[in-house]
Amino acid sequence: MAFVVSIVLLVIISIALQLFTPWWLQPIASNWSGIDATIDITMWVTGFVFVAVNLFLAYCVYRYRYDKNRRANYEPENKKLEVWLTGFTAIGVAALLTPGLFVWASFVNVPEDAVKVEVVGQQWQWAFRYPGADGVLGTADTAYVSPRNPLGVNPNDPFGQDDLVVEDKEMHLLMNQNVQLLLRSKDVLHDYTVAPFRVKMDMVPGSVSYMWLEPTLAGSYDILCEEHCGLGHFIMRGTVFVDEQADYDAWIAAQTTFAETQAVAEGNAQAGQANYAICSACHGVNGEGNLALNAPKLAGQEDWYLRQQIRYYKSGVRGTHPDDVYGAQMAPMAATLVNDAVINNVIAYIGTLPDNAAPETVTGDLANGADLYNSTCGTCHGDDGSGIWSLHAPALAGMTDWYLVRQLQNFKSGVRGAHPQDQQGYQMTAMVSALEGDEAINDVVAYINTLR
């Protein structure tokens, strides 16, 4: 009896959960409502079968419970019943399959007017490429990948010169315009998923996969990677904005073309020396850092990282959090570097400064620090702490250790990394959760001190 009641109860709970669930498909933001319709049909048909079979099961267990004075019925087969059930099931299955195949057919066939946009995946970041004025994407290959050309756009392809290279976790799509996303990966498998769009597709290194949609609801949506891509799979995040025409045009106009990214002149160290004077007041003449003034060491840090951080200070991505006291000091200083050329010059000058390891001020449990570093930090920052440009992971070894401690604390408390445009900030806030308490932070930084 308990079993019968349980089955009935579980059936009721299942139905109730389906009817009153607070967790359901998000409001759809694309043309793929056919998918939702197919889910609804499937839910109704399978729901009916679920209820019918299980209530019948409960009924049998109740009605035919053991009675020593009764005999079970002896009926080896019932051909007629079996044929009926088979036919009925086959029809039901066909009814479920057919509408789905029609939707699939339209998914597979891309409309001719669809605009092509490229999505590039890599461990553990998104990047995007839009065709320029010519409307055609240039060719690309991993063989061309370099710090100056992170997407591997073919520099010899005339169609690629005006492509808009968006090395940013945010992309924009135009509302009510068919778009074909061409999906490419530089390293391992990834998967481009925006849940309100309903459709998703893996990105396979060595080939280009695709999917298409028509965004129908303005707003911003998370881009998640949904194919396991290694340690940082869960922090590979992006955002897609579905824009009205004016917003979209404005965003497109603000992007840089591939040709522009290639034309930026190398920094001039000599010219940068003069601009560095203002930096040297705090960071030291040799960029060695100054604990008393809360200025970290700059010499030996990777140029792309310095460039990115100066830009963040200038644009308010960094240094604007109310509790970021030292960041607030840096922001107006960064503003004195008026344009990209000046920034590049200063960074080129910093590159000429002698890279001597900063003095050690932090101590901790080295064994624990090594464990933490190797399992959590080393994959991106390198086993030797020298940083990896393609992951946007700066050098740690030999840098000012007190500064590392403070930044880890900032990531933990949200003082740093919470700004939506901070590319890797989110990743750091997620990874520092593996460091519990100040001791773990000291341990890991003490270990980094041994890597110099």
């Binding site: 998918i35 399978t46 419970r65 079996e82 498998l189 060595g206 998370d222």
Partner: protein, 588 residues
């Protein structure tokens, strides 16, 4: 059947005389079965602990700093692979296959006892290799149980230096072990059936195990070659699966390989693997249901053909795991079609199980509770498969918690319900003792409710769009606080289920040691294993003379017969009827 070439020859008996020959280097299928079963359950407990750790992280993402992302991915991977291959496959085929095939077809042993012994020891070696990966620098692989390259062997994945190599080596050894066992099972079923045991008189347990073994013999080689090819890619620098790529800023030497090729090979193994686990479960549960419902299995012939049909179809549906893999999307039409065809024979099996209960005389024993619980969980898991098999619906749901919930219901909970049904059902035969019924019922209720509490709500996280294989969700703009609460509750349910498995372990150990002596045929079953002269059966199973089979395995509640069951090996003339008239049984 007049030709019994091996089983009848008494010089093939190899009676063991020393303790070691009897219990360690044993060639007796029953001992090997228990060895397989014990190792499988032990390694399964490891996987259970891993799942509990993984759930702790998911339910309480900020509370367990000792679980870092690398470890989380290692737990996920090892949990999946252990459960699918080293527990379920090994326990159904190595355990129940070994135990039941000779006993249910009336043979003295497997036809190749020495090979059978080797099979177990290779299996043990594969388990040891797999466990060793926990103790090497870098730890076990965290590539996910699907081991997709390039990620599985590149630096951004935990265990990419040593763990993955041990995983591939362990799989290769496991497949060797399986092949030795599998050839044995197939040959034994075909060659060593006793007098009168035609194929269409075999219990469905044997049918399920037999067809599953054939599937395994065809499917595992695909995994074997992919393991070898990936090893070559990693150690010799070949590029079977490795395209040109920039891994963590470094351009690798590989070029031109196809990551999707691996997925095809993997799922050409992986989908039949689902049925390598499911078909023995279908068979075993059919026998348990029929016996405890005191009624013949409904539509035996249809059940046999459904097993064969499902087995055949399982080889042409594999790419339904790859709808969004970036393969040519036109494949979706074909594989959605074949996949949904499988729903038909599968549905027939479900109908026939409940129709077996219809007009039965149901004894709700502990094994029967698990068997009926299986019907419920399998119906649920099977129906959600229709969502994912339908290529369009798979688009939003693949790689979300819906997938996790689906395959745990259909391939985790359901086969495990059958395993428990079968373990309780055959425990009196294997040990000669009866288990504690109260503990058995506690185990059932805790497991049945607990697992449904884990997986039913998980489907809805999938609808919401929560992705699988995420160490933590962090901040998103679509996951409400209630979903995090739900995740925490799912974890509580998972811990609850895990803890209650200790009741089962305790019950088994205690009952072997202190349990009441069992009748030789406590469930009043018809099949041959319950008719052995000794309980538990001795070496050679049948004493001086092999049994002769006169009818099918489901002669329950025949009208006019005194007992409500007629064993397969009782001649018609010895069957007592109420009015003394001659007994006419089932015609096959």
């Amino acid at each position: 059947m007049s030709y019994i070439p091996i089983a009848d020859q008494t010089d093939e008996m190899h009676d063991p005389h020393t303790f070691i020959a009897k219990y360690v280097w044993s060639q007796d299928h029953k001992v090997i079965a228990i060895q397989y079963g014990t190792v499988a359950v032990a390694v399964g407990l490891v996987a259970l602990v891993l799942s509990a750790l993984m759930r702790l992280q998911l339910g309480f993402p900020d509370s367990f700093a000792f679980i870092d992302p690398a470890e989380y991915y290692q737990y996920v991977t090892m949990h999946g692979m252990i459960m699918v291959v080293y527990l379920l496959t090994a326990l159904f085929l190595g355990g129940f296959g070994n135990y039941l095939i000779p006993l249910q077809i009336g043979a003295r042993d497997m036809v190749f006892p020495f090979l059978n012994m080797l099979s177990f020891w290779f299996y043990l070696v594969s388990v040891i290799i797999l466990m060793a990966s926990f103790f090497i620098p870098g730890g076990p692989t965290g590539a996910g149980w699907t081991l997709y390259p390039p990620q599985a062997i590149t630096a951004g994945t935990p265990g990419a230096d040593g763990g993955i190599m041990l995983m591939l080596a362990s799989l290769a050894v496991f497949i060797i072990a399986f092949t030795m066992g599998g050839l044995n099972y197939v040959t034994t079923v075909l060659q060593a059936r006793t007098h009168g045991m035609t194929l269409m008189r075999m219990p469905l347990s044997v049918w399920g195990i037999f067809v599953a073994t054939i599937l395994g013999l065809f499917a595992f080689p695909a995994l074997f070659v992919s393991a070898v090819m990936m090893t070559f890619d990693n150690m010799l620098g070949t590029s079977f699966f490795m395209p040109a790529m920039v891994s963590l800023g470094e351009t690798l030497d590989h070029t031109g390989g196809g990551p999707v090729l691996f997925q095809h090979l993997f799922w050409f193994f992986g989908h039949p693997e689902v049925y390598i686990v499911a078909l023995p479960a279908f068979g075993l549960v059919s026998d348990v249901l029929s016996c405890h419902a005191r009624k013949n299995i409904f539509g035996y012939r249809m059940m046999v053909w459904a097993i064969v049909a499902i087995g055949g179809l399982s080889f042409i549906v594999w790419a339904h795991h790859m709808y969004v893999s970036g393969m040519n999307p036109y494949f979706g039409f074909f594989f959605a079609f074949t996949t949904l065809i499988i729903a038909v024979p599968t549905a027939i099996k479900v109908y026939n199980w409940v129709l077996t209960l219809w007009e039965g005389n149901i004894r709700l024993t502990v094994p029967m509770l698990f068997a009926c619980g299986f019907i419920f969980t399998f119906v649920h898991g099977g129906l959600t498969g229709i969502f994912l098999g339908n290529v369009t619906v798979d688009l939003p749901l693949s790689d979300t918690y819906f997938v996790i919930a689906h395959f745990h219901m259909v391939m985790g909970v359901s086969p495990v319900m059958v395993l428990f049904a079968a373990l309780y059902h055959w425990f009196p035969k294997m040990s000669g003792k009866m288990f504690n019924v109260t503990l058995g019922k506690i185990h059932f209720w805790a497991t049945f409710f607990g697992t449904y509490a884990i997986y039913l709500p998980m489907h809805y996280l999938g609808f919401l769009g929560v992705p699988r294989r995420y160490y933590s969700m962090g901040t998103t703009d679509f996951i409400p606080e209630s979903a995090n609460t739900l995740n925490a509750n799912i974890t509580m349910a998972a811990i609850w289920v895990a803890v209650f498995q200790l009741v089962f372990i305790f019950n088994m150990i205690w009952s072997v040691w202190r349990g009441k002596k069992s009748d030789p045929n406590p469930w009043e079953a018809t099949t041959l294993e319950w008719q052995t002269p000794d309980n538990p059966p001795c070496h050679g199973n049948w004493g001086a003379e092999l049994p002769t089979v006169y009818r099918w395995a489901y002669e329950y509640s025949v009208p006019g017969v005194v007992d409500d069951f007629v064993p397969q090996n009782i001649p018609a003339k010895d069957v007592k009827t109420v009015d003394g008239s001659p007994y006419i049984g089932h015609e096959d």
